[in-house]
Subunit: 404 residues, 2 copies
Amino acid sequence: MSGCDHPGLMPVEAALARLMLLAEATAIRETESVALAAANGRVLAEPLIAGLDLPPWANSAMDGYALRLADWTGQPLTVSQRIQAGSAPAPLQPGTCARIFTGAPLPAGADTVEMQENAVLTADERVTFTQPLRLSQNVRPQGQETRRGDNVLAAGTRLGPIELGLAASLGAAQLTVRRRPRVAVLSTGDELVEPGLPLGPGQIYNSNRRLLIAWLQRLGCEVVDGGILADDLELTRAALGALSAVDLILSTGGVSVGEADFLGVALRDEGELALWKLAIKPGKPLTCGQFRGVPVIGLPGNPASTLVTFGLLARPYLLRRLGVQRVEPLGFAMPAGFTWSKPGNRREYLRARLEHGRVVPYPNQSSGVLRSAAWAEGIAEVLEGTTLNEGDSLRFIPLSEILG
Amino acid sequence: MSGCDHPGLMPVEAALARLMLLAEATAIRETESVALAAANGRVLAEPLIAGLDLPPWANSAMDGYALRLADWTGQPLTVSQRIQAGSAPAPLQPGTCARIFTGAPLPAGADTVEMQENAVLTADERVTFTQPLRLSQNVRPQGQETRRGDNVLAAGTRLGPIELGLAASLGAAQLTVRRRPRVAVLSTGDELVEPGLPLGPGQIYNSNRRLLIAWLQRLGCEVVDGGILADDLELTRAALGALSAVDLILSTGGVSVGEADFLGVALRDEGELALWKLAIKPGKPLTCGQFRGVPVIGLPGNPASTLVTFGLLARPYLLRRLGVQRVEPLGFAMPAGFTWSKPGNRREYLRARLEHGRVVPYPNQSSGVLRSAAWAEGIAEVLEGTTLNEGDSLRFIPLSEILG
């Protein structure tokens, strides 16, 4: 890993670019075929090609009457058939019209539909139209939306409700998807205690584990709970060694310039270790390496740092390993509802809300807790070396764009 | 339901306000206690009150040395103890300092931390500092983030990775949540065929069912698959009657001014039926009623209409039934990358993307298919009675804001 040639801090774009290369080099290529009902959140392994036209046949966009426009001379037309959605109509008898309902197939010979609101039934149950007619009006031609053979969804598409509905509309009952990534979540630090247990002196509850496990599940990962790594080299080695079947070991905390860094030692001894100093705040230190060939990403242990580095770096990395191309969240240029007078040398990601269309940061941006993030609607990006006045534009990333 | 007194079309705000009232009148109040690991996507039934201070004790924000500032006279200090995260330090010996690591508790008697980068070890292993010191620097005081007794998450909060991490940081192992809503999904129409089966003449594949089931699952609902309702009154009655244990019957298609509306007949006979004509496009007709006391929402059958009406109306309705207060998606004022020359009498929701920071709609906005939505990154709102020039501002709702 050639992660350390940046003289000072590594810009987030550079870190992301390196992670994308690493992800592509370790792509998870195994596939499986799953029913639509089980495909929510999975990643398409092959393009979805339309096997039929949509709509499969010309149909009516309205409840009304279908006719051949040339038959309409202003004289009432006999209603020769009635076509419900789901029925197979007979060809239209020349010189007549057909009662037709929304979505029902146009009978052969018809080329125009008039909506019932502009039709009048005569005493002898024939139909006359009150408005001028245009050829093809209210007709949805066959294949208007999709042609057989169209590449409807690219390989690498993440499948959500819309994509599953679209696949269903094409009759696909099974889809070929990448297998789920297996991700082990490890926390490091003797100070960590699991929720529900009593807190001893000097201890704190482990919050990153729950944050990351829930998040990884939303990303379609199979999570291996690696628990809390003890501050002991042999135990660290043994715990890492037990994870040989995972695609990624994700750790939080414990890799820093501190002296008690057994994870770092284990990686140096039996793998690779790069310590990136990212030009972002929160979230400066990021570990990138491998242990006996299994990729390892070490996130900083402060919860807000974990949030930002997972959302901006580890999430895109994992998605790219599955072949997803669009891995970055949408961001929106929004006016600041605050001032920023001290330009920083790191890009700051503020937990923020929109109030009256302006970005308002949580008052306490300490990286120690998630309370700011639970309050926030998104993350606002203050570029390095800049100041902001109220109304100046900055990028706002909705949390919904990174949490799923 | 007093849904039909609007003279013309019902504005979306009015429809939403009515649905909120209906939701509050039929709130799902039963609760259950679930482990954090099972709480992803659930809705908190009671406020989460902090049972401890965060941080629970003053601690160091840096790797460095802890001291009492008054002891620093410029003369080197002896290092009297070493405090790792997770340990319980002895009180600081007067006139000495302590080696300390990030997150470790400050020893009693210390009030200041200097980072190791500004510390120099003397030959006799004492420590001297190269920079001026400030009282309390690099110290995170007890309770800085959260005080015991703080209302940390309100009842009605949707629990995602961040909220679960926050609850874990407070030691909560179980949370009290509303029970999952049970929602039956019904499609109406003889023309519908399930994916995987052959398509007969006049038939189309049922896409809304997959769209809605996957979506409801993301919203934490328990989904009852009601299948496809036949175009037959007695079968419709029987199918609805079998759903007496659900919280909502969600149907698509079939309730319109068309003649083959057996769902509408069944609701009129044994419940209530209001047909709302919404001032939105796609998605004009919406049914709101009940069958033998079970709430029924009928969405229009065109997939894009289903998408828009579920996302803008049924989703907030369901969340509000669980007590969620913030039920509307974030929207962003963004410049149009297109012109809109013909003002409409309905609010249009265009499936759109952002390109170079501008809103670009999918070329074919037909309500018949989901292809536009699969291409889109969001929904752009063109207000009724307005035209747009390129660069004019319109509201853009990221799909991620409504899909989960």
